[in-house]
């Protein structure tokens, strides 16, 4: 049906009531909490006594706090570096395992293994592996590896970004694998006749054909980067010092550790606004909302 563009109304379209279950969930678990958080951001509340209206006190305090900008800066680093590391790796792995050979299927199963592990399990495992006294470095007597990775403020953030990449590259590879398999073989056959090599095929056919997948994957990656919490919490709890205190973690520590739920609500609203702006910008500038098909003849 195409009602918006003045087209036909399809009488056989599903009733609007079908949307109720999803809407109830969305209202109950997204919109209502969001409104409550917005309300709480104007109160001072320790979680024990009743919230007291505080006007813009929390906003002035949190927006004047260098720690908020530090957390934002770290979050930005996580977003950019995660994208820069994960996207090329995922495309390469995804395109590679989209091949039909049997050994590639076996490798794919191995590559996708991290997908079935929970974030907490991954973080605990890496914490043990990276332990300077008991980790891999010590076990195999490799001095270069037996370093204080997570305890050193200079390396902690990069280690966190590495572990996040380890967890999420399989997921994005899966997207690219599916995307690459959708590319019609006729395109490759035609290019072969024209004399294109493998590399030329990759850049001239595979990458352009994956355009929509790249946009989907990047949106998920970037918006997802805004909310990483579990892995960082288990790995470093935001430390050492403030070295890995990204915005979601700052929000958690402010709210549930320091019992400043008003201040934490300010950070929560900030996160939502930033996430929305980025998601909207991505869909607008990438033309994703028009969702044109890249396939021939479709």
């Amino acid at each position: 049906m195409q009602t918006r563009n003045g087209g036909v109304v399809d009488a056989s379209a599903p009733s609007s009531w079908f949307v109720v279950p999803a809407l109830v969930m969305f209202l109950g678990f997204a919109i209502i909490p969001l409104v409550i958080a917005l309300g709480l951001s104007f109160t001072s509340w320790d979680g024990l006594t009743a919230p007291v209206f505080d006007g813009i006190g929390n906003w002035v305090r949190k927006l004047g706090d260098p720690l908020t900008y530090h957390a934002l800066w770290l979050t930005l680093q996580v977003i950019v570096l995660s994208w820069v590391i994960q996207t090329p790796m995922s495309i390469l792995v995804g395109v590679f395992v989209s091949g039909k050979q049997r050994y590639r299927a076996v490798l794919a199963a191995l590559y996708f293994l991290p997908l079935i592990l929970s974030s907490a399990a991954i973080a605990i495992a890496f914490k043990a592996l990276l332990d300077p006294n008991y980790g891999v470095g010590h076990a195999f007597n490799v001095a270069a590896l037996a370093r204080d990775w997570l305890g050193n403020p200079a390396t902690a953030l990069y280690v966190v970004i590495f572990v996040i990449a380890w967890q999420f590259i399989p997921f994005h590879s899966l997207l690219y694998q599916a995307g690459a398999r959708q590319i019609p073989g006729s395109l490759y056959e035609a290019s072969e006749i024209d004399g294109a090599g493998r590399v030329r095929q990759f850049f001239s056919i595979t990458l352009p054909q994956l355009r929509n997948t790249i946009i989907t994957s990047s949106t998920l990656m970037i918006v997802g980067s805004l909310t990483y919490f579990d892995i960082v919490y288990v790995l470093t709890q935001g430390g050492p010092g403030y070295a890995t205190r990204i915005l979601p973690l700052d929000m958690y520590l402010t709210g549930f550790s320091a019992s400043d739920l008003g201040g934490a609500s300010v950070l929560a609203v900030l996160l939502v606004v930033i996430g929305l702006v980025i998601a909207l910008a991505l869909t607008r500038f990438s033309g994703f909302n028009r969702m044109t098909s890249e396939s021939e003849g479709a």
Partner: protein, 427 residues
């Protein structure tokens, strides 16, 4: 089309609101409940089972949670209709915030008639359950001060045959151990809380209990007390001297990794709570029997005002009674505490686990050198400093962890530490 959408929206809102109010309607209907931690379950569960057997009409429902989960859960539950009758807490700052919010009952007058019970408890430990002289909480778990653990084998190899009595002796021992190619002190920096033990002992040894009391009394600039500055300076000197085992910022105390370094001979010293003792057997069952373990009080500081016999750590964990409880529930809960907690079987259960119950005259019943030595330290101690994080307000203690982290990894100076902590006063 539009009308349908509006109807759908209205229906959705109704369903959500109905769901919310249904959740809120449930409340505690007459039952007595107790929430505690899994760590203390072995002591508490049998005693509640006993009580339930003898009082079938006043049964207590007990629930246990991991320590950190418990702290998160109780914070939201304590002011809700689902608040447990018996609220487990660590006294200090949290208890004070409960009292200020009127969430727990003043037990002073009820306990005045229970002298047989109150006389059993070591007074300095009962004191942590008081706010402004009134009793709001009663001890229910073992006493766990922080002591200096030593691996005698490692020390002997470096030519050290005595526990360091003073800070300078400790520094000298560090040098000897380094010379012998050993890591001197194990420290579980990743868990952050072991950092606290160093600063709380040093401040007490240097300035006595007053500097921290000033902090608790929220005196402006209390964190800049010379004793605090000197303590943080000494900590950084110890770090510069290579006192702590390499990579200490990545060593986890929550998994006993710091204990393992000391027990397996990869470090000479460890400053830890007596609760770590039970973990030694898991790492090396023969460590204690072979006489490799020695413990000592934290060293004295030359010219310090503090008593070298003072101890710091966790006095106990306490039961408070929720003010949401009905009179009937509260009475039964208090009856349980005064009758079953610290009766003979409660004390024996604790002793069998190598713990030290905070009751008077328990020394002859204790098993093993470790428990006897610790009991001696407790009874000799003129004061028992509660772990700072428990005594501080939640906001101050959150900042405290971060600032300690910065101090111990050399990212901030003693002055920056004090300045940052001064900002938390009154929060």
């Amino acid at each position: 089309m539009r009308r349908t959408a509006a109807a759908v929206l209205a229906a959705a809102v109704t369903v959500v609101l109905a769901a919310c109010s249904a959740g809120g309607a449930a409340s505690n209907s007459g039952g007595i409940s107790a929430w505690s931690t899994t760590a203390d379950k072995p002591n508490i569960q049998p005693s509640i089972a006993d009580w339930n057997e003898q009082h079938p009409d006043q049964k207590i429902t007990d629930n246990y949670f991991g320590t950190n989960d418990f702290k998160d859960k109780i914070r939201t539950a304590v002011n809700s209709p689902q608040a447990p009758t018996l609220v487990y807490n660590w006294g200090g700052g949290t208890l004070k915030s409960y009292v200020e919010a009127g969430l727990v009952k003043d037990l002073s007058s009820d306990l005045a008639d229970e002298q047989d019970f109150t006389d059993k408890i070591v007074p300095s430990i009962a004191d942590t359950g008081k706010v402004d002289g009134k009793t709001y909480a009663i001890p229910a778990s073992s006493t766990a001060p922080v002591v200096l653990y030593m691996n005698k084998d490692v020390l002997a190899e470096a030519g050290i045959d005595e526990a360091p009595a003073t800070w300078d002796e400790l520094l000298a021992d560090v040098k000897k151990l380094k010379k012998a190619g050993q890591a001197p002190i194990s420290l579980g920096g990743q868990s952050k809380w072991p950092y606290l033990m160093w600063i709380e002992y040093l401040v007490d040894r240097i300035g006595g209990p007053q500097p921290f009391q000033d902090i608790l009394d929220e005196k402006p600039g209390a964190w800049s007390d010379p004793a605090v500055i000197k303590a943080t300076t000494m900590i950084q000197q110890l770090i510069e001297a290579g006192g702590f085992a390499d990579g200490y910022a990545s060593v986890s105390a929550d998994t006993n990794a710091d204990l393992a370094l000391m027990v397996t001979g990869r470090a000479g010293f460890l400053l830890q709570g007596t609760w770590a003792y039970s973990g030694i057997a898991d790492i090396d069952p023969d460590f204690v029997d072979d006489g490799k373990l020695e413990i000592a009080p934290f060293p004295a500081v030359e010219g310090g005002k503090g008593d070298p016999q003072s101890i710091a750590g966790n006095p106990s964990v306490y039961w408070s009674i929720s003010s949401k409880a009905s009179d009937e529930q509260a009475k039964a809960a208090l009856d349980y505490v005064t009758t079953n907690v610290w009766d003979d079987s409660y004390v024996d259960t604790m002793i069998d686990q190598g713990q030290i119950p905070p009751v008077q005259g328990v020394a002859p019943k204790l098993k093993g050198d470790f428990a006897k030595q610790v009991e001696q330290m407790i009874s000799d101690a003129p004061s028992f400093q509660q772990s700072w994080d428990l005594a501080l307000s939640p906001a101050a203690s959150t900042e405290f962890w971060t600032q300690l982290d910065l101090l111990f990894n050399g990212s901030s100076t003693p002055k920056q530490f004090s300045d940052a902590m001064n900002k938390t006063i009154g929060k």
